[in-house]
Subunit: 186 residues, 2 copies
DNA sequence: TCCACCATGTAAGCGGTTACATGATTGC
DNA sequence: GCAATCATGTAACCGCTTACATGGTGGA
């Protein structure tokens, strides 16, 4: 395990909360953690192998049904050590946020109103769907009480919601500026 | 050039605005476009080679000074065709936004106030610096007039500023919640 | 019986970073 | 003269995606 390998730290973090299988980890990357990092089997299983080799995790085999072997991974004391070092060590540099939509916007002729409107409304739809999904998840997991819960899970969900809300508002503002322009011309 | 290769499209887009060298492209990725995509020489020069091979770009050699050969790349009609197809074709799927800070937040024990405060204040500092830099650039490039300019360049800068502002506000809110908690306990 | 899901992996290849290598030019 | 910057590239390696391969389990 190399010390810049973020995925390994995330797996350790997930295993610290509760022991689980590679398949369970995959599901975690599809939900909670998935808002800010993702991984699939092509990375998870090889990564577990490395962690196992480094003695940062161990596993117990559990037989499900007749013969299905489920490996339940658990973090070791050494793994906890590695993880805690990462957790309290500051983020080294500014994260690069790739955004293909913003690139298109950058390149598009802003006077081509038809293209601009389509680009913006398509993007808004994508983010509106995402926002709806996030709000629904928040309601299901945390209910209506906004003040009480301040767990890590709550915080990441809340930030993701803020992020989507902000983008939608910005896109709406942009749409409005097209309308104003049209009115002014008339 | 494979049709999923975003970098090539970005290079074409940059060359469409004005012909330039690989070195110039690199600088573009450090500023304007860099807010939403980045690339360095290890990708740019090989990518130009592929585009050249596909006849999407051509170049003229210019002698700078005595013997320094500067290759000024220019987009071809075929390249423009490729680029326009990409530009007006909708973004296929939701962008994954990696954020190591949010991961740390997710994993950190929210009751460990000392660790939380440090994590949050370090992150705020990083984004405050970024915001200051962006505001300065906006002032230099576009001046004080907020209403007039609606070019692609203006829009990406504006969005980046919104993004940073939102994160800083969210982090401030979080800091406040620590303070309130402390007061309540007293 | 069938299908969705549980469960574990591998291989190929691409996208991207880091580091290296080399040399010219411009301005102080 | 020196340093910053201009300028072009290559090589190694890693991170990550996509696709493939295989099979078991549980419920309608």
């Amino acid at each position: 395990m190399r010390n810049k390998d973020k995925l390994s730290y995330i797996i350790l973090g997930l295993l610290r909360t509760e022991p689980m299988s590679g398949y369970d980890l995959k599901k975690k990357f599809e939900s909670e953690v998935g808002e800010f990092w993702q991984a699939n089997t092509g990375q998870i299983y090889p990564s577990l192998k490395v962690l196992l080799n480094d003695k940062a995790v161990t596993y117990d085999v559990e037989i499900v049904g007749e013969k299905l072997e489920k490996k339940t991974y658990r973090i070791t004391a050494y793994g906890e050590e590695l993880f805690n070092t990462w957790l309290t060590h500051a983020v080294d540099r500014y994260p690069i946020q790739k955004d293909e939509f913003m690139l298109r916007l950058y390149f598009m002729d802003t006077d081509n109103e038809e293209n601009m409107r389509k680009l913006v409304s398509d993007e808004r739809e994508v983010h509106q769907k995402k926002l709806n999904y996030l709000l629904q998840r928040k309601a299901i997991i945390f209910g209506d009480d906004d003040t009480a819960q301040k767990s890590g899970h709550y915080l990441v969900l809340d930030f993701a919601i803020q992020r989507e809300t902000m983008k939608i508002e910005w896109l709406s503002q942009l749409s409005l500026s097209f309308d104003n322009k049209k009115t002014r011309v008339k």
